[in-house]
């Protein structure tokens, strides 16, 4: 089985923004919002679009760059039209200089909602 836990150097990530990170075969959007790090799948669940090209809005929302639909980054929930299905979230652990991202685990916030 291939590796599903990755370390990402924070120096390669946009502070207070969203960055596309390729982890093996996965495209992951890594966010820093109000100092806290999050990771989700990069692809929109509505149509082909890269969420890391979208814009972070108030309230921890990411706006899809194609149709402007939004997702709540900490939980992955679909919020605004035309997004209906949640995006997958990933467990992020802040290790100081690096983040550990576990692609087999949802975020803690998503788990709490479930």
């Amino acid at each position: 089985m291939s590796n599903t836990v990755f370390e990402v150097d924070k120096a390669t990530l946009k502070p207070e923004g969203v960055t596309l990170v390729k982890l093996a075969n996965w495209s992951v959007a890594v966010y820093q919002i109000d100092g806290v790090w999050y990771a989700t799948q990069d692809g929109c669940t509505h149509a082909r679009a890269s969420l890391s090209e979208g814009e972070l809005l108030e309230g921890g929302l990411i706006a899809c760059p194609v149709h402007g639909g939004t997702f709540h980054v900490p939980t992955g929930k679909a919020v605004d039209f035309p997004c209906e299905r949640a995006i997958r979230t990933y467990r992020v652990t802040d290790q100081g200089a690096v983040l550990t991202i576990d692609l087999t685990q949802p975020s803690e916030a998503a788990l709490a909602e479930a």
């Binding site: 509505h46 149509a47 082909r48 679009a49 814009e55 706006a63 760059p65 194609v66 149709h67 402007g68 035309p82």
Partner: protein, 455 residues
């Protein structure tokens, strides 16, 4: 737009159009001051205008001040084509047909705004502000049948350029540059749109109205019709300032008409005459304060027309009035109707209170309910509507006022005529119209006017 070699839309050719082109020379004897009324009612001529005037000329599409930030856009018209004028991330400006290339729906319904993308209401095709297709609803279905988004972006205008904050666009890839198109008129435009380093801006929104007239009735009025003011606007002038319009025809030695490439400006040297008609002394005082600065920046001659009794049309359908500070486009809607779009322009550096006074003043005079706009609108409507009469439409019109008033020995740029009460600019406007209507393409348009100014 697509270049000629890749154009896929059928052109309206055929016998009807050939007949229309061949008969063009019979429409005017401008040296004799005669012209046919057919140009104001004929549907075939109108179709030819859409092709040879509006799909060819540089047309005003917006002011830089309307779209300062990336993603800012305005909706505008080029003939009957609705376009979106959009500020780009690199600070440039692009123009696109406001239609989805998928099934043709209107893309944006807003007059102006800021956006990250334009999304079609019909099938969710989404376009970046640079016109590229970003994606669509049900993208999987398109991908499954081999769709390549490249080449399915918005239809872009051929060229877009600005002069002194005024943005113009053309659909014709072979059009001359905007600088060549405006030619010597730039010398005069600088008097009003370049009074200082900051230039002008539009204040307030766009006021729109419909007038049941041919678009050329409005354009010719502003290109050179100082004559009508003293008669048509007598009651309006009395209402606004308590007296008649100055009898400018009695002092032709101090007034002019100038034209170049069909653009025309009639003016005298009184500095503030147009402005005075707004009935606001603070604005007149402001212009007298600007006059010496403009004299220093440009020259004394031009400083005397910053708000003088005057009017201007940039061929074909954009006009403005110095001093009253109304700026407008006469969009054609068939041979007998226009949609009039009007803005107020001011110097960016003017105090906020002065800007607001101009906004109110221009609305009181040159809005749908303005005292001067109403006077004009009725005249233009009936000058158009009389031609529904079968015998009436066969009668010629006179356009010969001021024959022989050309000033030959002058340093002033453009073609210069003595006396603003004149129809020299009308004749130049219709000569340009005729030249364009007869020409198959830009190369065939005669270069009648040689620029004096190397601006």
């Amino acid at each position: 737009m697509t270049s000629k070699s890749t154009q896929t839309m059928p052109q309206p050719q055929g016998q009807a159009q050939t007949d229309t082109v061949q008969e063009l020379d019979n429409l005017m004897s401008l040296e004799q001051g005669r012209m046919s009324r057919k140009v104001f009612y004929d549907q075939k001529l109108y179709e030819l205008e859409l092709e040879r005037i509006f799909a060819r000329c540089w047309l005003f599409v917006g002011h830089e001040s309307q779209i300062p930030k990336a993603g800012d856009f305005v909706s505008a018209y080029m003939g009957q084509d609705n376009v979106l004028i959009v500020r780009q991330k690199d600070g440039g400006i692009k123009g696109f047909l406001n239609t989805c290339p998928h099934r043709g729906n209107k893309l944006s319904f807003a007059d102006a705004g800021n956006t990250r993308q334009f999304i079609c209401n019909y099938h969710g095709w989404s376009f970046a502000i640079n016109g590229e297709l970003k994606g669509m609803h049900a993208s999987e279905a398109f991908e499954a049948t081999g769709f390549d988004p490249a080449g399915h972006g918005l239809h872009e205008v051929a060229h877009i350029e600005s002069y002194r904050g005024l943005i113009f666009a053309t659909f014709d890839p072979d059009a001359p540059t905007l600088a060549e198109y405006l030619g010597d008129m730039r010398y005069y435009l600088d008097a009003v749109f370049d009074m200082d380093d900051e230039g002008t801006e539009f204040v307030g929104g766009c006021v729109k109205s419909v007038i049941r007239c041919n678009w050329k009735m409005a354009a010719e009025n502003f290109v050179g019709d100082a004559l009508h003011a003293g008669w048509t606007h007598d009651s309006g002038a009395k209402a606004m300032v308590g007296g008649s319009v100055i009898e400018v025809h009695k002092t032709p030695e101090s007034s002019y008409q100038v034209n170049f490439n069909g653009h025309g400006w009639e003016f005298n040297q009184d500095v503030v005459g147009n402005c005075g008609s707004l009935g606001d002394k603070e604005l007149v005082k402001y212009l007298w304060g600007m006059q010496p600065k403009v004299a220093e920046r440009h020259d004394d001659f031009r400083s005397r027309l910053i708000g003088a009794i005057s009017s201007c049309t940039i061929f074909p359908n954009t006009s403005f009035l110095p001093g009253q500070n109304t700026f407008r486009t006469w969009h054609p809607r068939g041979p007998d109707e226009i949609e009039l779009h009007v803005w107020t322009f001011v110097n960016k550096s003017a105090p906020p209170e002065i800007k607001d006074r101009w906004r109110k003043g221009s609305m009181m005079t040159f809005s749908p309910s303005g005292v001067f706009e109403m006077d004009d609108g009725e005249n233009w409507e009936y000058s158009t509507r009389t031609n529904t009469g079968y015998k009436t439409r066969q009668q010629e019109l006179y356009v010969g006022l001021g024959l022989g008033t050309r000033v030959e020995n002058t340093d002033l740029p453009g073609n210069v005529y003595q006396g603003q009460v004149n129809e020299a600019n009308h004749r130049a406007f219709y000569q340009r119209w005729l030249d364009l209507m007869k020409a198959e393409d830009w190369d065939a348009v005669p270069q009648r006017d040689i620029p004096k100014e190397n601006l």
